[in-house]
Amino acid sequence: MSLIEPIQFATLVVLVLNALGVAALIILKAINRSRRRRAEARKRSHMRLISRHVAFEHSTDPVPAKAATDPAFIDALIDVRNALAGSDLENLERLVARHGVVDELVSDLRRSFPKVKRLRAAMALAELADDEAVPVLLEHLDDREPEIRVQAARGLGRMKWTPAIDAIVARFGMETPWVRARFADTLIGFGSAATWPLVAYVTVNHRHETAGPVAAIRTLAAIGDDEAVKPLIEVLHAGADPEVAIAVIEALGHLENPMAAPVLRSATRDADWRIRAKAVTALGLLADTESLEDLAAALHDPEWWVRRNAAAALGVIPGGLDRLYEALTGRDHPASEAAIEALVDIGELAAARARIEEGNGRTRDHDLISVAEAGR
């Protein structure tokens, strides 16, 4: 009896505590839901107000005194901003300036905490892309929080503030891969204005670091500016680190400029198989007919990855099919395997079958089918 009573009491306490916990959770959820609904209603009301100010330059509809501190007002401003273009944006910018929105956000960003508030301010400044925010965004490229550094760069990118390009590029080498990738997105948005700062960064840094220059080279490839071709070739000639060289070769393939063909042909004979594998792929992207000999030679490379890429490249270059058929019936078995794989991938096997069925089959069509069937 004396033992059962404490157990019953403890069970009761646990049940009561559980019930209280559940009740607290339900109340918190209800409060949150109601808070969210109120914020949504405020946002809708702000959106109507902002729309009137945008539609009529001299609208006299009063804006609440503390609108700039209300996240619902900021969200509404951002939504309306993203829906509009041209002179309507000027009306919106006037509204932003008149109510000190940027100043309020800048002051939130400059706080030391809480992080959520600072991040919200950085995101809002990036979205609003107001010129007044340039100094604070530049300053926060060095913020202690990576997400805020990313938002600072994004905001400068949205404003197309080209003087910021050097500052963003300069941080490539010191950033984490995630931040570097987001910085790269921003630089791609700048387009060819970012080409020379990136080229300069690669040229100066490729000898003593890898991650930064590799990211910069990939960014150059994504921008797609032919101005980068010559400097990238020079980086290869300068005997770059293999990772950098691989990135350069990939970029040269992506840029599809014929000027890069000779250096890529030389790279098909590099001692490093990874470089050879990338070089043959790049030559395929260039569709360079003068590279047929080098690609045909690469079909006999000791590394299967190089052979496979060379065969795929020959499949897309005019005249390359003949080289694949030659390899198909040659004595080098690995080269023949690479050739058949590429011929199947580009639909040549099916085409050969169709030609034979139509009565137009050539000797090489029969060769292809017999090699393919023998391989099964």
Binding site: A76, V80, L84, A85, G86
Partner: protein
């Protein structure tokens, strides 16, 4: 008072357009998806419809097609994404009278509306 139907799943766009159009003397009805837009077009006559191309339910172009099948000849301006040249051309082929790319300029959109009413 000319009557305009706006259909877009973005509340920002419908609020903006409603505010601008009402202030310019138009009567506005709003739909937030393709089915609702189709039904509003069937239920009452409009002088013009501004339809977003990418709406839940029915696409803007599909709403036009279904209206035309029902004999409803309301002129339609299609709202398209900024890079959606193909949809813009297709919408004209399928009976839209004009198209406007998002993000848009309100004065330009209002001018296009005036031209059609």
């Amino acid at each position: 008072m000319p009557k305009i139907l706006i259909a877009d799943d973005s509340e920002t766009i419908t609020t903006l357009l409603t505010t601008a159009l009402e202030s310019n003397g138009y009567e506005v009805s709003v739909a937030s998806d393709g089915h609702q837009a189709y039904q509003l077009g069937i239920d009452s006559e409009h002088d013009l419809a501004i339809l977003d191309q990418l709406m839940p339910g029915l696409l803007g172009i599909e709403v036009i097609e279904k209206w035309r099948e029902e004999g409803i000849e309301t002129p339609v301006i299609i709202l398209t994404g900024v890079d959606d040249e193909r949809t813009a051309v297709e919408s004209l082929d399928r009976g839209a009278v004009d198209y406007v790319r998002k993000p848009f300029r309100l004065p330009e959109l209002l001018a296009r509306i005036r031209q059609r009413i």
